[in-house]
Symmetry: C2
Subunit: 356 residues, 2 copies
């Protein structure tokens, strides 16, 4: 099976190529003078299938840690590429998850005034969400994601067989973002997914179908608003709370799981403030809770969460910009909410009820 999804971007169109036999034959990754940037863990797990990549003279193996996503750690990677004589016409090939994607995309934006790059996403988060949309995010010291660019890859080679070696928590994390994207697509789309939820973990064909579905939903928005100046904002649904949860737990909760928890929290607050019906919260709660259940006892302190929330670039001390379900149809929208006492109380109630 090999079919394609074609995405339009400011740099022309690029394809997501669904290729389930990629691990049997990786020759297509060697087009156009490649320099490989590969996740150390992927290199260990697929040392046989990816032997020709790993033994290539121009391969750079990177541990996919948050620290390595900083500009300070990216510099030696660039120095390696320069030492390996990277030229303007060469191609950077990222093999890994979001961190390897961010590093490669950022380097491709800035080395030699721009190089082509391709991507083999190996995590569910990267396959179902981050691989399309052009964004890179790089840390500077302790400031997360402050640097970045919009720079789509030339091509994405998507093979779901990489998911075989993922931890369960990383599958849940990816499913968290899949849930988010389908919530954006509307009530019916979300409910259909919710009804199929358990099969995502047991039936690869179902999971593959939802990877494709998530990408097609996201495609519509990134093609309309690639530079994230308007409608694309709603993809931050669950993220203001999600990032605050990650921060308050010192990144103890995987990203997509924190997003699922964040969506549940956003729904609780929206319905608590009368912005959506209580039914919206209840309708979605079951599946969201299932997705973050193993982290429900993470013991998130309200104070730590509120502090993290206030650090969000979009928020001020009195005004919060949130993405919430609005109205009976639970349409996902960007709204401004007053950071009043009631808001703090609502957050506390949600957090206290978490592991009940």
């Amino acid at each position: 099976m090999s079919d394609e999804l074609i995405i339009q971007s400011h740099k022309g169109s690029y394809a997501v190529n669904f290729n389930e036999s990629l691990l049997d034959d990786v020759t297509e990754l060697f087009e156009n003078t490649p320099h490989f940037l590969i996740d150390a863990n992927v290199a260990r797990l697929y040392k046989i299938e990816l032997a020709s990549v790993i033994n290539h003279p121009k391969v750079i193996v990177i541990e996919a840690t948050e620290e390595n996503k900083s500009i300070e750690r990216v510099i030696p990677v660039i120095a390696r590429l320069v030492a390996n004589k990277a030229r303007r016409g060469d191609t950077l090939v990222a093999i890994g998850g979001g961190i390897i994607q961010d590093i490669t995309c950022f380097i491709a934006s800035t080395l030699l005034r721009g190089m082509a790059w391709r991507f083999v996403p190996t995590t569910l988060l990267a396959q179902a969400d981050s691989c399309i949309g052009s964004k890179s995010s790089i840390n500077l010291g302790a400031t997360k994601n402050i640097l970045g660019t919009f720079n789509p890859p030339e091509k994405i080679h998507l093979c779901s067989k990489f998911l075989d070696t993922l931890d369960q928590k990383d599958i849940y994390s990816g499913v968290g973002e899949i849930l988010k994207v389908h919530a954006i697509a509307g009530k019916e789309t979300f409910d259909l997914l919710a009804a199929t939820y358990d099969q995502l973990f047991t039936d690869r064909a179902v999971l593959r179908r939802y990877i494709g579905s998530a990408l097609r939903i996201k495609q519509k928005y990134i093609e309309l608003d690639e530079f994230d100046r308007g409608i694309r904002n709603i993809f931050n649904y669950g993220h203001s709370f999600g990032h605050a949860i990650e921060s308050a737990t010192n990144f103890g909760v995987p990203h997509g799981i924190a997003v699922a928890m964040g969506m549940d929290m956003a729904n609780a607050i929206a319905s608590g403030r009368g912005l959506t019906s209580i039914e919206t919260y209840q309708r979605m709660h079951g599946v969201l809770k299932k997705n973050y259940a193993s982290y429900a006892s993470a013991n998130i302190q309200t104070d730590a969460l509120m502090t993290a929330l206030m650090k969000d670039k979009k928020n001020t001390a009195t005004q919060l910009v949130l993405i919430l379900p609005i109205g009976n149809d639970a349409e996902i929208q960007r709204v401004e909410v007053v950071a009043d006492e009631q808001f703090g109380d609502q957050c506390e109630v949600f957090l206290k009820a978490l592991n009940k």
Copy 2:
């Protein structure tokens, strides 16, 4: 006087605003929440005229050294902008020459996935050449200009009064690039400039006219080939040799003066190899030599120059990509030249004759 030149770019059009009263009234620099990045020397020289900039809470003063143009030194500048709470809608305002331009343009490309930036060029090199064309270049360790982006400013505020405080050598350096641009425009354009050459140094109105003329000539090429994939290459005329001269003298020769010397060398080699007539070399030699005369005794070693030339990204051990005057009309073209013994001899003859 305030007129404008409108440049088309991949990010829309931007204006070069010629404003000779900028130093009397700088309010226009404060539009759109500015963060200033200003050359320390300019801040010292114009502490009265630019007092409101220098005393602004969001000003960063930078010594315009080659070292400060490295990614390692750019990081703390970004950290300062983050500490000063730079937001996506704010504007970076560069005040200085090419180094401040490079630093600001690069940061504007990568901070918060892109910010607007404006430019007040204060050197002749920046006013007559680098201010338009979108390029930024940043060093990585000892590797010069390996990082960079294409990112045009939102606006250029050009005031020739800044030239009052330039060293003579920096005027000569800027004139070197003006000579190059006019050579590209053709024999007659170059000869007209050559006939007016002395007035560039004595009559500000004439110099201003040629700044405008240089920008209009360059405009045509950068609009056709902003990303430097084809015709824009010819703006490297004098630069392969010029960069090698800078490198062989440990940057003892100012950039535009090395370019003038490099053009003379390119002409000598092109005529020596029969690619253009001896008259081309002779016709241009007088004014080029005048422009680099005070560095003619720089004592450039042939070996050092050849080594530097071979390091040029475009060249291999056997093949050189050069920009040379071709034919009787001395049309500036990109050509490949075999790096044979004759070539080495020609370089040596040129260098030996330099200070005769």
